[in-house]
């Protein structure tokens, strides 16, 4: 089954949830409205799309007030042997989307990492705590607003400068 028919099927199934469809390096990118993210993903998880695997999930900070954080999801369907990239933009003020842990188990740590690095909240996540940085770390280091080179040592370091 070609990518064109797949995109058409997705458009028909998801309807208004699809914001736009674009192309990047030969791959189709579907942009989803953040409010409709969870139901749209749930539909893609089921037949006939059957995207059983969440390959990766990450985020981009574009430093604009509207649509500042762009969440990027990579899905893979074993039965159709097709990959799909989905994006959803959330605003700078109180960025939050619904969690996908109920759909893919590995979304747990992926969402925790995005929360840690970008401060995007995932509503309904069972254990939304920092994943990579340590207790007491302030701010979110991969935000463009995080001060360049600002380290937060856990022990007193000898000063060399």
């Amino acid at each position: 089954m070609g990518q064109e028919t797949l995109i058409d099927e997705i458009r028909t199934k998801l309807g208004a949830a699809v914001e736009s469809v674009s192309e990047s390096c030969g791959d189709r990118v579907v942009t989803i409205r953040p409010q409709a993210l969870r139901p749209a993903m749930a539909a893609l998880r089921e037949a006939p799309f059957d995207f059983a695997i969440l390959l990766d999930m990450t985020c981009v900070d574009f430093s604009e007030p509207a649509g500042r954080f762009e969440l990027v999801y990579h899905l893979y369907s074993i039965s159709r042997n097709v990959r799909l990239r989905l994006k959803a933009s959330v605003a700078a003020a109180d960025p939050a989307v619904e969690t996908l842990v109920g759909l893919w188990k590995n979304a747990d740590w992926l969402e925790r990492e995005v929360f840690d690095m970008f401060g995007v909240r995932f509503d309904g996540h069972p254990y939304l705590r920092r994943l990579l940085t340590y207790e007491g770390f302030e701010g979110h280091p991969l935000r463009k607003s995080y001060p360049w080179r600002l380290a937060q040592p856990r022990i007193r370091l000898k000063d060399k400068d």
């Binding site: 340590y134 380290a151 937060q152 040592p153 856990r154 022990i155 370091l157 000898k158 000063d159 060399k160």
Partner: protein
């Protein structure tokens, strides 16, 4: 020494000689420099030729700490604890650009040189350093051990 049944030396020299050829090292390996450490330790380059072949996996049995690879701020307290657990006399080698200065990383995560966490005796730069450089660094450390003021149990303390 044919015909001689005795030799003379200074106690400190003998102690330094003994110490420099019996370095029990503890490898604190966090990154890709570990591959270079392995090739140095194994038969091709063979640090056992320099008496440093006995790797200890407990800091309490080691007297040379090899910090091999990137040390993050998250890991710094662990490295400090490992150093504190080692018995005197002890030495530290910063192995590779990351351990020496933070290397290519200057960001929120990476400690800019392990000498901010533990005192370092020998710095081996390189990303990663060649085994020859590691052996050179090891020999420089041996030189340092031979010529330093030896600390021992009944030594007079100032």
């Amino acid at each position: 020494m044919s015909g001689l049944d005795f030799m003379t030396t200074r106690f400190e020299t003998a102690l330094g000689w003994g110490r420099k050829f019996s370095l029990f090292h503890y490898p604190f390996i966090t990154a890709c420099c570990g591959m270079e450490y392995m090739s140095t330790a194994c038969a091709h380059f063979d640090i056992d030729r320099f008496g440093a072949g006995l790797t200890r996996f407990s800091p309490r049995q080691a007297d040379l700490l090899l910090v091999v690879g990137t040390i993050t701020h998250k890991l710094a307290p662990v490295l400090r604890t490992v150093y504190d657990q080692m018995l005197e006399p002890k030495w530290v080698i910063a192995f590779g650009a990351c351990a020496v200065s933070g290397g290519i990383y200057q960001n929120y995560a990476v400690v800019q040189g392990v000498d901010r966490v533990v005192p370092v005796d020998i710095y081996i730069p390189g990303c990663p350093p060649r085994p020859e450089m590691v052996l050179d660094g090891l020999m420089k450390l041996q030189d340092k051990i031979q010529h330093q003021k030896q600390d021992w149990r009944w030594a007079k303390k100032p």
